[in-house]
């Protein structure tokens, strides 16, 4: 499996290569600066990748650390997914409560109070006070049109 530091270099190399490749398909005026920036970026990425490959391997990450990272990424994806599907007024407080209860180890009434606080800020401050309409989520948009 690729080491993390090498993976980052590979990601950057691929991103610059793709961007430079795409830039060649644009009109001359539109591709000028993307090429001026992209080609040095590609060269720096190659240098960095070579540097990373020649360096000593980094200390092995413990399985406990990997597990914690995986769990946090899962939570992050759950937050994004929940908010996209069910919107801020509903998913926001629910996610706060869920995180505090399941990951933070808080008691159910603490998690519930935190959720009520989140709802009060989201609805009270943003919707009522600031007059900013909150996203209601794709599911509710699909159901209610």
């Amino acid at each position: 499996m690729l080491e993390g530091r090498i993976l980052v270099s590979v990601i950057m190399l691929v991103a610059f290569a793709a961007a430079v490749g795409l830039a060649f398909t644009y009109a001359p005026e539109a591709r000028f600066l993307p090429l001026v920036i992209g080609i040095p970026g590609l060269l720096f990425s190659v240098i960095q990748l070579i540097k990373e490959l020649r360096e000593r391997p980094e200390p092995v990450v413990t399985s406990e650390e990997q597990r914690r990272e995986g769990r946090m990424f899962a939570w992050f994806i759950a937050f994004v997914g929940g908010l996209v599907l069910f919107g801020f007024p509903y998913a926001g407080p629910a996610l706060v409560a869920a995180y505090l209860y399941f990951s933070g180890g808080e008691r159910w009434y603490v998690a519930l109070a935190a959720a009520v606080f989140a709802w009060a800020v989201l609805y009270g401050v943003f919707e009522l006070f600031l007059g900013l309409p909150l996203f209601e989520g794709l599911v509710f948009q699909w159901i209610f049109g």
């Binding site: 993390g4 530091r5 993976l7 980052v8 990601i11 950057m12 991103a15 610059f16 961007a19 795409l22 830039a23 644009y26 009109a27 005026e29 539109a30 600066l33 993307p34 920036i37 992209g38 040095p40 970026g41 720096f44 990425s45 240098i47 960095q48 540097k51 000593r56 650390e65 914690r68 990272e69 769990r71 946090m72 990424f73 939570w75 992050f76 994806i77 937050f79 994004v80 908010l83 996209v84 801020f88 926001g92 996610l95 706060v96 995180y99 505090l100 990951s103 933070g104 180890g105 808080e106 935190a114 989140a118 989201l122 943003f126 600031l130 900013l132 309409p133 909150l134 996203f135 794709l138």
Partner: protein, 515 residues
């Protein structure tokens, strides 16, 4: 000098209850973010961005500036009381501050810290205000050609100063510039890097970039570590001799001790003045953020002392020098941010993103059309520093309770509000998906010691660079490189790269390879 505008804006600030109320909220928030190890001002700014969407330019900018101005004041509290720096610059304060706590002088160290940071903040703001008439003719002489080169200089500066890898800094900065090209090309109107997505035609929002690169990685990291702070090996080494120990330490803080510390600041008035001016001037250089400024001020304090052997063992001048430095540089770093669009530090990069979101366009127009905003920000720095010291003195004996918030409480709120901030920018839900992708990349950057600030600066400067280049070529043709100011800027770009190469060569010689 716009004296009329200067005093009119001060009068407006002091007589507008809404602005005063918002500053009174912003200051304790800034102290809270600064005093909670692991959070800091950048995250504070990120969290407050959604709240300023509907504010007018002036109100939003003053609110954020007031919050950011006092972050370092708050950062000294955990440094002094528990030996854990609240943010990077506060590590210098911890050296003597925590040693004073161990000697039973916590209150005196806190008083010295509050006094020094307030005076430093005020002198820094004065430096910014007084430098305006000197800078005005220079800034107004800048043509698009110079702004293009300044954008390149900004990226080079940040890359050379972003840790130990110039290459990594350049890659991230250039990647930020590439991301700035997402959207419709200004000259042809054709879409670039939009992958057929109409919502990308307006380009990548700076706010989305900021929240992805700072809020998300910090929260994932906080969740992985499971605690709000992590002293780096370097800081721990510097704290040797004053490190947390098992022996009981009295953290009792009394009003008498606080006032004794403040009297120490008056006693070291020339030191405070020297450190403030030195660091405010250094703060103007993009990339020399708070960490460098605080250590430079501390270094100057030690060098200029008659008793350098006392430092690190609880010398009050050490606290005064470091705190003056970290607070005075805020005003200095506001200068390139406002007038050149080149952020003075990573915190200022976020602030600049927020300014752009509020519709404040940095550049010479800040001096011609929006000088009231410039002066309002200067006064906001002054008022915020004064409010902070009043609040902190009042909090006196209870101050140790600050900075004890559990990380698990913070993570869900920051994630929800960061994602809300991304959605509110244009009301585009797809931005949340973009944050998921870019936030993951941001975490990888953080995890593997890649600098993240150059990305934000690249995104901000990309649009300025492209717009300026097209105007410069239209005005002067390719000969714009030969304009006198352009030549100076080109020399500065080469000098910054040359300096980096010289520095890395010297450090390679100093540290023998074990390979």
């Amino acid at each position: 000098m716009h004296l009329d505008v200067a005093f009119a804006t001060l009068f407006d600030l002091l007589t507008t209850p809404r602005l005063l109320f918002l500053m009174a909220i912003a200051v304790p928030m800034g102290v809270f973010f600064g005093s909670t190890p692991g959070l800091g001002g950048k995250l504070g700014l990120v969290l407050l961005i959604p709240f300023v969407y509907n504010m007018d330019q002036l109100t939003g900018a003053v609110f954020l500036c007031a919050m950011h101005a006092v972050v370092h004041t708050g950062g000294s509290i955990p440094s002094i009381l528990i030996g854990v720096p609240g943010d990077g610059p506060a590590a210098a304060t911890a050296l003597d501050g925590y040693a004073m706590t161990r000697k039973g002088e916590a209150g005196r160290a806190l008083g010295a810290s509050f006094g020094a940071s307030t005076v430093g903040g005020l002198l820094g703001a004065m430096f910014l205000g007084l430098s305006l008439p000197i800078l005005e003719p220079i800034i107004l002489n800048f043509s698009p050609a110079e702004f293009f080169l300044l954008a390149i200089l900004g990226i080079t500066f940040i890359a050379t100063l972003s840790g130990d890898s110039f290459v990594k800094g350049m890659i991230v900065g250039l990647f930020g510039l590439m991301c700035a090209f997402i959207g419709l090309d200004p000259s042809t109107g054709s879409p670039r890097f939009t992958f057929g997505q109409i919502w990308l035609w307006d380009g990548l929002s700076v706010i989305v970039a900021v929240l992805s690169m700072f809020a998300v990685p910090e929260m994932i990291s906080l969740g992985v570590k499971g605690r709000a702070y992590d002293i780096s090996a370097e800081t721990a080494a510097k704290l040797q001799g004053s490190s947390p120990s098992a022996e009981p330490v009295s953290r009792k803080v009394t009003y008498a001790q606080i006032f004794q510390g403040m009297a120490d600041v008056a006693h070291h008035k020339w030191l405070v003045l020297r450190c403030s001016l030195l660091v405010a001037a250094i703060g103007v250089i993009p990339g020399l953020g708070g960490d460098a400024a605080a250590w430079m001020a501390y270094g100057h304090t030690v060098q200029s002392s008659k008793h350098p052997e006392r430092f690190g063992k609880g010398e009050v001048a050490g606290v005064i020098g470091a705190e003056t430095g970290s607070c005075a540089k805020e005003a200095g770093s506001l200068l390139p941010t406002l007038f050149f669009g080149v952020p003075g530090s990573s915190g200022m990069a976020i602030m600049l993103g927020a300014f752009l979101m509020l519709g404040i366009q940095p550049g010479p127009t800040m001096l011609t059309e929006h000088v009231n905003i410039v002066w309002s920000l200067i006064w906001a720095l002054v008022i915020a520093n004064i409010l902070a010291v009043i609040m902190l003195i009042a909090a006196g004996p209870w101050i140790g309770r600050l900075g004890t918030m559990k990380a698990s409480f913070l993570i869900p709120y920051v994630l929800v509000f960061a994602l809300l901030g991304c959605y509110l920018y244009g009301g585009i839900w797809q931005n949340l998906i973009l944050v998921m992708v870019m936030g993951s990349l941001g975490y990888l950057f953080k995890r593997h010691d890649w600098p993240r600030a150059p990305f934000i600066i690249g995104v901000i400067l990309g649009k300025i660079a492209e717009d300026s280049l097209q105007k410069a070529i239209g005005l002067f043709g390719a000969s714009f490189f030969w304009r006198p100011i352009s030549l100076i800027l080109i020399a500065m770009i080469l000098a910054s790269v040359g300096f980096y190469l010289w520095r890395s060569r010297r450090s390679n010689k100093a540290v023998p390879s074990h390979a």
